[in-house]
Symmetry: D3
Subunit: 340 residues, 6 copies
């Protein structure tokens, strides 16, 4: 797939959320101000790819008020094309984050199930036009969990993309506390994965979708990947990352993949002073897409893993690093020498 | 009514909102942090009365998450009894504020119509217990506009209060952009005012409820008040304030009232460097309730007006001043001499 | 000229500066942090017009480092087209501002004469392409004062614009502490005004350019305008604003113009609590351009003056208001009523 | 003792201090603002227990000014009963903290020896009433060191508690730079420990009080504990924690205890990115009291140690964590997985 | 006196205080951080004079801890000679300020009566050496009110200064809430004024010292001044300022003086958007001393009044303006034109 | 050399820079404010030595504007003599810093090559006077790289110092991205080292100057040092530090030296939670100079290494620690015990 989609845009579909968080590691009652960022798992991918120099476009709804205007301005600042963003009379989704540290976990409280994105409809997105010059369409398991109309809108997009032969990257994490509109999330995720080409996930996600019971060993991962490719023939490759959390402030990660024909993996990277854990998976996905466009599978996986590692050092939801910074980490330059 | 309710608690029923606002006069895209406060028109009244030294209790729902916990902590900090606050699995209502200045108006964007308070039900409030030792019950026109169940819960509270002979203060402002659940707001406000004893509002509010057309002159106010007392016999007195806005930063206010038998008014107070306009009406209501407990009608009106004026100098939604500070303003001490 | 250029983009040429300022009214030794904004007199015009909904493009150089990247991101956030921005190996220009208050004036210290824009060259701008679909080209007297190559680059742009029949707005303020490269600023400004169509300035600027001595009365202004139109026949109209500074915190402004055939003026607007004085002239220029596109001369002047007044309430260099907000001020809505 | 005191309140007696600290790791001359928190070793215990859901009451003096009002509001926010807090005409005690990092130690400067608490008198506390429905009374070695009248007030409280059979937790750390009123601190601490039931401390504290010379080994600790129980027969159990400080930012802790009949200890917990070291001992004490109420001795010790570890991740003096968070750490969930 | 003392240093004797204040107009419970400044009425005079370019020296005690070190660093930053500052084992005095606005007054809470300066002794100051090359010694009525030893130390300094023929400026404001060590403040102030040469104060201060009852008219002021010069023959001139406080945010001031032979006064200056009211009297005193050195009495009074007016626009306790800025205000440049 | 120069001042010559940096680990587009500090490699040495209690003087140019005034105030605050600082009409040099973390490196963008220091000339420094009572003159490789006139000014200073027998410490790091005025940096550095007495640097710096190729082993270092002493006979000793960067947040350092007759080294110190990496080399130099004055070579090296380690925990460019804190680290007190 190397370079094949270069110069084509990457389309990302999903909710844009405002994140609100007391500074430092404060608990909410200890704060009088909150930092805020605009994020959202799919938009984070678009933002990171824009910082990598790719053309990206976000398809979403925002609120028709001062918050929605600021969300659009934030996407423009990242360099994301906002021409397919609609403004509707529902508030923007948001979440509150109390940042953990060491052995204390971070906590999140969401306010998104009646927001502007939950009210998106297939009628409001012109998928034919949006996907006209696209090389990739990216989606995650969050979107179909928000509302039935969000699921339908996504499904329509995948169908159009499939017809156009566009690469579809699926990050189908299952979040049990979403999925409140009465459908079986596992079934829907399986349906949507069945329309996709790249699977970003591992044994856990495969077990959820296929209702299997593979273990987390290398062998388990290979077996699970093969089972997925059999069950969902459009899927070509499976890219996973393995996280070893020493504490909220100290994480180790490496990537592994089944390319359809062989197992590959990366070295483990270690982040001893985590700045921000949010969006690290999205950084992996963005790194992977960039890698698939520019490199072979092994280097794409290296790039995804190093991008994910770097995101732990970046505040906010999006991974604001350059391809050069990622490549330097791959090449082992992790000692913190100042760049003058 | 002087002193009759002293030592009895004041119960306030309504939504607690988080307010989020960029510091200074920033527009949202100019900010990376927001100040936040907990407010809500009825809770502001309770908070101000608690600062005046009264016993107050808030009846409300908050979210069952870190935001709801912080809202409860904020009420406790104000000194409000939170034993009748329920935690439910819906997000706390909130609003965003861009603070205007001079000839630029402030802007607000709400996120409240599917929040924890909108989901309050009559079953969740034990009005008999809550009102057992109460001297006042305070409500505003916001509450019945949020949702039908909020309206029903309020109505039940007013009935219990009426049976117990508790003074009921009504601040029935009509907000047209609420009232989305299909009922006629004017009708419902009239019904609820018909169960109350003190009317906090003026010609505008009376015209809305009675569908009359009184003018804003002194005479118009007196005629409107008389019409209201005729249409809603439980109402004993009408307390109004007149605002003259030179700009967002420069406001003039005075109070006027129909006591049932005579017209009274206060001197005009001028605030040339407004710090925060939000909650000034609630400060008036709190000042009025305090005044009705401790003073005669004229001094109660003076107290309400001076409390309202002082709120323009206090950040946040609630009026954090002492009775002594209000009385000093009434006595003309407005020159800004430092208190050491 | 009403509506003629609608839908065509407005091109702005000039330096993008970082502004650094201690918060509140602090002096620099009283601060440990500074607020920063990206501005620059011409870019401020582009930003304001982008907020008005117009297509705008900035032609400039920025530094090839993290500061230049942030400048580009800031322009993207405003909604300005940055495709004609070059990155060069010279630092971005910047200035420090200590914000005055009341009878204390603000102070500015510049660092711009060896920056990225001072090193712009005619070779680095493809004026033919940039101006291909433009309706307006905007320049100010700052640009030719920075460096000889900046002057040459501007001159070339004006020639191309003239050939294409594009409206050229000139804001030729003379700043004596610039102009350090050995040329007579007055001569150069006269040459460049002679290539322009709209003159934004008044008696002072005309006297500087024509070396005349008109007084500041209405009659003086009319006479000066006529003299300018005679000396520079390409100039069609003269738009001026008159400022009466009570103090750094209290300003009064009104606009006046010579339309080529008649004298018009606006009401005076008063800003009693100035938030930010910087960029108010640029807000006037942006309002004027918007007005010339959408309205007749009188309303264009009203719009320019009200936009200028509103800028006094906005932090930073650019005027982040909507056309609706400007129109409301023109219609007299200046009392600071909150917009919910 | 398991569950025996459940539902009874815990009374804490001691000074409430304002802590003032430059943000981040700044030295004071590098700062223009300071963060502030209200703390005090005994109040920290009450605050933590309130967060655990227990009823707590603080007995103390605060200043009769705006600072004392804020201290009361802070205690209310924590959920502490403030009905036994007196306001007196002496300033609130306070301390300044420069936060260390890595191999640089934190520094504290106190201003407390003439403050409102130093002026507390036995006459101002109604111990009979305060302790009427109490299950625990908590004190530390700071209180009798502040002033003779503070010592006398404490002693009277211990006598009343003893008569009522209330459990008395003693945290008798000796601080040599206090004790300026002319008494032998070791003697007084021994006297007060002799009136208590639970000893929170270890070999060091026992050696200070008994003027013995036990070593820090497990055997030394057991021997010291036995010696203490012999010298102070009211003491039933000894709970200690062992800290291994790699640096100001990296700490290891475990708990050990002599239950009167056996030696128990916990696993060691490691905090690699310390957020705030202050109040970790108080978090241990609060965890212990909670554990003694709800669990057996081993689990109480586990709870105390895990609560102490978690406090290292919380800003400010008080340990704002829930019992669920503590239990999760005991169960080994320390990898920093986000709670959504 | 014009120019006579030029190039000689001005010595200021008094307490250095840390001021702690929530930002904006927050009340303390609304804040989590406080701004801080180092001030103190006499040090403010030294700081302002240092900014005017004069050599100044502060004689004082500070705490022997991190706070005292920061106080010394602050004085060094102002440019004040700190070689006569002693470090003692008592905490630095401090005060808390809640900043008022409009009709709400500012509030101050002090913590100074057991601080490092209250413990100053005559033995710790080598007045002979300090005053060796001094032209002025400045004192205020705060110092003798703090403690008896502070009073004795001041008295000794005045005696030495008198012997050396140094000009002594007295600002003998009487603060009733100080003076807690058992002496009659009015008597002591009269004694000390009797050793001084320049009286900074007016009818109020003279009435307090002489126990007279002059009124506040021009005639009353002249009569009071004459009475003072008769009672205290060392006093040569009396310099007063008259404040008209519209509100905490809007102040008007003018100066008046009795030169020994004639009455003079200044124009009134108006500050409509007060930034900081603290230290405005000290700015007047510093301006006066500078004026007495460099100008005649009328211009000295003008300078004092304009310096005082400018201080209202400067955050913190000290007046950080240049002589040029003061002279511009005297010359009528108060319109807020930006200085580039 | 022990104690020989005690009580003599240390003169430092070089540029004072403003450092501007988004707080926390933010990227510039994520920030609206920046922290700022005054630094500069040579001034950092002076500041650290002033904090150690030494008399220090900075010879430099600053801008003749509000920024230059603030730079002077910052130096005064550190306690540095500023009487040889000139103000010139060129902007102060500055740099922007994005602070890295973990495996992400920090990034710096400079704006200094046309600043006030680049315009320094030999005529503007009175070296005879400045060096009259000096014990040390300190310079680094940055200064001769800025501009030819800066190089000439430095050279003249070294000549005067040499004549006076003053110890000259050279920190001749070669920065390739400076040196834009057309001279061979290696040649010039060799010339200037040839005039110095103490070499602060290691194999890398020696190889650059001598164009040799020694390796980094202990043996390589000794051989390189001997070669340097042969090539530059005025050099008496070589002091090096070895850094092992685990990541931007985790560093290990130790010192080694060739004393002219023997090899010495220190233990390795580890900083696991780096607060600020900038200026750590300058802290080493300052520690070394202090050590050379007060201790023997081994302890001087220990002191330099421990000072360097402590700087990693201090924000800003200068090492604000006391000699006591450094000695405690040398003695092994690195466990973070709070100093009360």
């Amino acid at each position: 797939m190397k370079n094949s989609a270069q110069h084509k845009k990457i389309v990302s579909f999903g909710e844009v959320l405002m994140r609100l968080s007391p500074a430092e590691n404060r608990k909410l009652p200890q704060a009088k101000t909150m930092d805020f960022y605009f994020g959202g798992t799919e938009m984070n991918v678009a933002a990171s790819l824009a910082y990598f120099g790719e053309k990206t476009q976000q398809v979403t709804n925002v609120s028709n008020d001062l918050v929605g205007d600021a969300a659009i301005a934030a996407m423009r600042q990242f360099g994301i094309d906002v021409s397919a963003v609609n403004k509707v009379d529902h508030p923007l989704g948001l979440y509150f984050l109390e940042v953990g540290s060491g052995l204390r976990a971070s906590k999140i409280a969401y306010n998104r199930l009646h927001g502007s994105f939950a009210n998106i409809t297939p009628q409001s997105v012109n998928w034919e036009k949006v996907l006209d010059d696209a090389g990739f369409l990216h989606w995650t398991g969050i979107t179909p969990a928000i509302s039935e109309s969000a699921y339908q809108t996504l499904k329509e997009g995948l169908q159009v993309a499939k017809e156009k032969g566009i690469a579809i990257t699926a990050d189908p994490a299952y979040r049990s506390n979403l999925w409140q509109y009465g459908k079986d999330g596992h079934e829907i995720l399986k349906e949507l994965v069945g329309m996709s080409t790249i699977f970003i996930g591992g044994v856990n996600e495969i077990n959820e979708i296929l209702k299997t019971d593979f273990d987390f060993s290398k062998e388990g991962f290979i077996a699970a990947s093969k089972a997925l490719l059999e069950a969902c023939p459009s899927i070509e490759k499976v890219f996973d990352k393995i996280r070893d959390g020493v504490s909220a402030s100290w994480q180790k990660i490496y990537g592994r993949a089944w390319t359809g024909s062989e197992y590959i993996e990366t070295q483990q990277l270690e982040i001893t002073n985590v700045v921000d854990r949010i969006g690290t998976g999205d950084a992996y996905a963005a790194g992977l897409i960039y890698g698939l466009i520019h490199f072979d599978d092994q280097q794409a996986l290296n790039f995804a893993n190093a991008a994910c590692a770097l995101k732990h050092t970046i505040l906010g939801d999006a991974n604001l690093v350059s391809p050069e910074e990622v490549l330097e980490v791959i090449q082992g330059s992790t000692g913190g020498r100042i760049k003058r």
